[in-house]
Amino acid sequence: MSKRTVEVTLATSGLDAEGRPQRSPLVVNEGGRVTTLEPMPALEPELEGEHMLINIGPQHPATHGVLRLVLELDGETVVRCIPHVGYLHCGFEKIGEYRQYNQIIPWTDREDYLNSPGNNVAFSIGAERLFGVEVPPRCTVLRVIALELSRIMSHLVWLGTTCIDIGAFTPFLWSFQERERIYTLFEQWIGARLTTTLTRVGGMGADIPDGWMDGLRDFIRTLPKTIAEVDRMVTRHGIWVGRTIGIGALNAEEALNYGLSGPMLRASGVDYDVRKDFPYCDYETYDFEVPVGTTGDVYDRFLVRMEEMRQSVRILEQAVERLPDGPVNVDDARLILPPKSKATSEMESMIHHFKQVMEGPRPPVGETYVAVESPKGEKGYYFVSDGTPKPVRWRIRPPSFVNLSAIPKMAEGHLLSDVIAINASIDIVMGEIDR
């Protein structure tokens, strides 16, 4: 039995005057017999009809969690978009007021769960500023490694799920394979994959094990190949380009005024990256570039995130080279637990152990707002202390929450199917939005 081959080519002859991809006839080559399919008939004149109210979510795979969008449609065009959030609200900030500082770190894993190591580091930087301690250089470099690995991890998930939303399945498998390798690295380091609880106030939960750096070097050597592969497959693909260019665009002024941050803001052309502008963890000493887009549409956000992954690899290469020897924790008996053998044999260590576990370390009275560049944007932690072991107020500044608040502005006027692409391009994590 002979196989019959059917080739279908979609010719994209560019964009029309309004920025939408031009429709071209499909050409079907069926065993040498070429038929040109008729172009799609022009849209029928608009029928008199009432606007339609449709509901997307909260249980819908394309909403990336439990986002609910109520859309008012005129035909297929979105007239009004009303987002509803809060389905995952757990009261993290309230719970934090009843916990010691080190006990809050596991909660930070669960808020933006694609970026757990990054949240742990951000929390620890903030709490250390409140306590007034300075971590050793080895700890700072390890934290940079954790931050950049978690950025790559989050962007890979974003890439995979966005490709699925827009209709490409293979990049999803590639990016999740790479993400799996990062999870393996974190598992070797701290023992957990998703909820890492990597840091402590004043140091790290654990130093890296022997031979771990070889695994990391292996990863940063091969990741660019995967990124290049996705790049070849997607970046110039007709369907991808047609569904992303000109969709959900925000100009620089609007993006800044809406408080967007991270790749969303940079895609619109604003050169603001917390790592460069308000550095922490010695980021000013690393050599890397910040990609900035021009039009601020879904396609630019995609390009910015792809380039950020490459830049993260650059930072990781430098961090691997400069990792110094030495301790990972501060030498401060107020904050860091003594080794168990000492706690059971020496009087002083036992007292420190008891005081820390039963009461918890006490920061001085004060407040601080610490922001890091998370994969989603400016992730801030605001602490207010009244001198007791538990914070008076622990506030999470959620970048996804603020980025999502601009979705009515971005979606209105576009087609229903574009709402899915716009929503994917925001890179929301509902755990962080609802907290």
Partner: protein, 231 residues
């Protein structure tokens, strides 16, 4: 006053130092120059300035919040073009006032400023909304209202955001709100089971749909009062 030099893209402020106890004291130290300019310009509204771990906090009168934020946003020497956060703080000592906090960034000058307004507990907690200046304040103020019950005057759509619209228990992040909620677990479960997902549309949304007119008049009235058919 001369306009300070803008910072080139992709670099930190020229006087940037990592915040460590070696570099900066807990209290005091160099304040953000904007604080002094606010004090001179809004002498009636300015209350005091504090510097903690290198971060400048300017306390202002609540009524002039919008005015000060608008000046910080519009003035060429300030250019605070980025509103990072709007939130509130309530201390465990219930004698102390509730504070509303704005975190502002000037990206061209690489400056960070915290504005605070103290709201006395004797009157309803009211403060002007900064939404006319920063559209990003929309959801942040809604969340602050939802969690603390602070009324932002001039906000276009001040309703609950994380809790549902008919939530009756109060404001969760207030210190008088118990960690486990006001109602018992059985009562919370009963309410959750009694709620009907079909009625999760707000009145605003139902007014768009055709189906609203088809509802019985009695149900429409109850929906208008914010009740659920199951309750």
């Amino acid at each position: 006053m001369s306009t300070p030099a803008l910072v080139t893209a992709g670099s930190a402020a020229p006087d940037h130092v990592p915040v460590t106890p070696r570099n900066l004291p807990n209290r005091g130290g160099p304040a953000n120059p904007s604080a002094e300019r606010i004090r001179l310009r809004f002498s009636a509204a300015h209350v005091r300035t504090e510097v903690v771990w290198g971060e400048t906090t300017v306390y202002i009168q609540p009524a002039s919040a919008l005015e000060v934020v608008r000046y910080l946003h519009d003035d060429d020497a300030e250019q605070y073009d980025y509103l990072a956060d709007v939130t509130a703080v309530e201390y465990r000592d219930l004698e102390l006032p509730v504070q509303v906090v704005w975190h502002l960034r000037s990206i061209p000058y690489r400056r960070f400023l915290r504005l605070k307004a103290e709201l006395a507990r004797t009157a309803p907690l009211r403060v002007p909304s900064v939404w006319p200046v920063f559209k990003g304040a929309d959801w942040l103020e809604r969340e602050c209202y939802d969690m603390f019950g602070i009324l932002f005057e001039g906000h276009p759509d001040l309703r609950r955001i994380l809790m549902w619209e008919q939530y009756q228990e109060g404001y969760p992040l207030r210190k008088d709100f118990p960690l486990r909620g006001r109602f018992s677990r059985s009562e919370q479960l009963r309410q959750a089971l009694a709620a009907q997902p079909e009625t999760r549309y707000s009145m605003h949304e139902l007014s768009i749909a055709d189906a609203f007119e088809d509802l019985p008049a009695e149900m429409r009235q109850r929906l208008a009062r914010g009740q659920r058919p199951g309750e």
